[in-house]
Point group: C2
Chain length 323, copies 2
């Protein structure tokens, strides 16, 4: 069933069908409705390849993802499936296809034909510069913004996330807070910066305990180290850059006999369902992955349409549970 067939049935020409199903403004309202009704009735579907060929557009967006989980990043993938859900939802709703690619996979014609690229994953920024030069395609990257970036970046507001944790600690009267995490990661460095600055505004200092891995074990071990120190260095709040580290910390605290949150308050990051189901339920900074995906998609569509798009950060929020 092609347009020609439908045209014959409706007693009009192909182009009228095309216009009736598409633009809609160039065709009489009655004929348009009649044709649309006929199309649904006969189960007609547009041939995407033909349209793409004629329009010289692939209506495809390549999403390049890092997919290998590792012991130091124990959640299933650096970025949750949810963000892909947001991207996919937004793009398919406007007739675009999501071409999922791993960073390792070969550059296929289909990939090269993409109308735009979305990059997810820790190496994204470096890849971005690389790809941008080679392909000159519209491109949007997920992550933290950097100074010289020429590409559009979407990410959640890590500074704000850090500040939210700090404000909470101040609000419940904590005086000695520790930040737990690896400052080499841009996003985490931002979380720390927001945390430190917000505390500084209240005249409080921050201490950093660096750990490279994002595991419970690392969190527990770091916390044991803190607990083993003398009384002079006692802390009453821990902000972990990640829920797993936070959970590890809590575990170590409880094992050591410290009360959470009475003696030491702990806040995690990411608001994972895992943290929510932890005992005790973990307080955490929430960022909406789904919205992030949607925003990435929208920005890219703007670029594809030849409009400008600005880098943007998504708001975060603090979810207070029992820690």
């Amino acid at each position: 069933m092609t347009m020609a067939d439908l045209a014959r049935i409706a007693g009009v020409s192909k182009i009228t069908i095309s216009r009736a199903l598409g633009d809609g403004d160039l065709v009489n309202a009655q004929t348009r409705d009649r044709i649309r009704a006929l199309a649904t009735k006969h189960g007609y579907t547009l041939n995407v390849s033909a349209r793409n060929l004629r329009l010289r557009r692939s209506h495809t967006v390549a999403v390049v993802v890092e997919m290998t989980p590792s012991a130091s990043r124990p959640l299933s993938g650096p970025y949750p499936l949810e963000i892909l859900g947001g991207i996919s939802h937004e793009l398919t709703s406007v007739g675009y296809s999501v071409l999922l690619t791993t960073r390792q996979s070969a550059v296929t014609p289909a990939l090269q034909a993409a109308d735009g690229v979305i990059l997810l994953g820790q190496g994204a920024h470096d890849d971005a510069v690389h790809l941008l030069d080679r392909w000159r395609l519209p491109m949007v990257v997920w992550g933290a913004r950097r100074a010289g970036d020429r590409h559009v970046v979407v990410g959640s507001d890590n500074r704000e996330g850090g500040a939210l944790a700090a404000d909470r600690f101040v609000a419940i009267g904590r005086r000695r807070a520790v930040f737990l995490g690896d400052l080499d990661h841009m996003e985490i460095a931002e979380r720390y910066a927001g945390f430190r600055d917000a505390l500084a505004r209240h005249g409080l200092e921050t201490e950093v305990v660096r750990r490279d891995a994002f595991t419970m074990a690392a969190g527990a071990e770091a916390t044991q180290m803190l607990l083993a120190r003398g009384k002079g260095a006692r802390v009453d709040a821990i902000f972990a850059c990640n829920d797993l580290l936070a959970m590890g910390a809590i575990r170590a605290l409880l094992e050591h006999g410290a009360r959470v949150p009475d003696d030491i308050s702990v806040i995690g990051y990411d608001d994972t369902p895992l943290g929510a189901s932890f005992i005790p339920p973990l307080s955490s900074i929430h960022q909406s992955w789904h919205d992030g995906g949607v925003l990435l998609a929208r920005k890219l569509l703007q670029l594809i349409d030849g409009k400008r798009a600005r880098s943007e950060t998504l708001p975060t929020s603090l979810v207070v549970r029992s820690t």
Copy 2:
């Protein structure tokens, strides 16, 4: 840069270019190499839309995924990103595109034009029957096989996984084993069946403690219940249908003063990086998600090529760590 352009440069006709880059057999080896060299030199890439139009194939596979994590399934998505990696890798390497779709998203022309469908997620089986009737497309489903299934199913060998856990328990002399999990899920029921049967072969009985959620909290709570029972019902081995439940169980055991694995041995399922980084490192049944994805893709490609494909199960293995 189209085929026509390249043809002009090479001094041959379009069709020769097409044959040189494709089949390769119908064209002189020298001209073929010359043309291929020219193609790379001028950075020519095939127009996928044009080819698809002519061949009446979309070279696209729709992957339908369940993407919403929830409190009762706290890992980021019911199926890890890794399986998508396997699918994507395999398909893109043979020139197919992966069209990622959520179960909720609308049926777009691009989706309908797919050459095949891969279904992932818990509702997959029911959707399968539905879609198969409506679309008559080649389709492959991830999960456990069921009796009346008319579609091809790929999944890991849950029976074997259960049996491996049982064999291990027998090998280290355990006598009273408990299975922890929700038997309403097909895959988990299989794990239990394998576990129970393997123990039965050694004259041992099994006890089931059902819990619906896949969380640490549920695992801990179930285990506390077990510990609270009288001495007559003492258990010395727990097989959890999931790493999180296993971790919850271990936590409860340690809190109660039981030694793991000396008093009670625990084995989880999925071999998540999370479990590997747990303290103590969790023994678990491993299944290769990546290989699963690859196999799904291969089966589907067979179907698309008009060949037959059989349902298949992937082997599992036991990773012995410290529990």
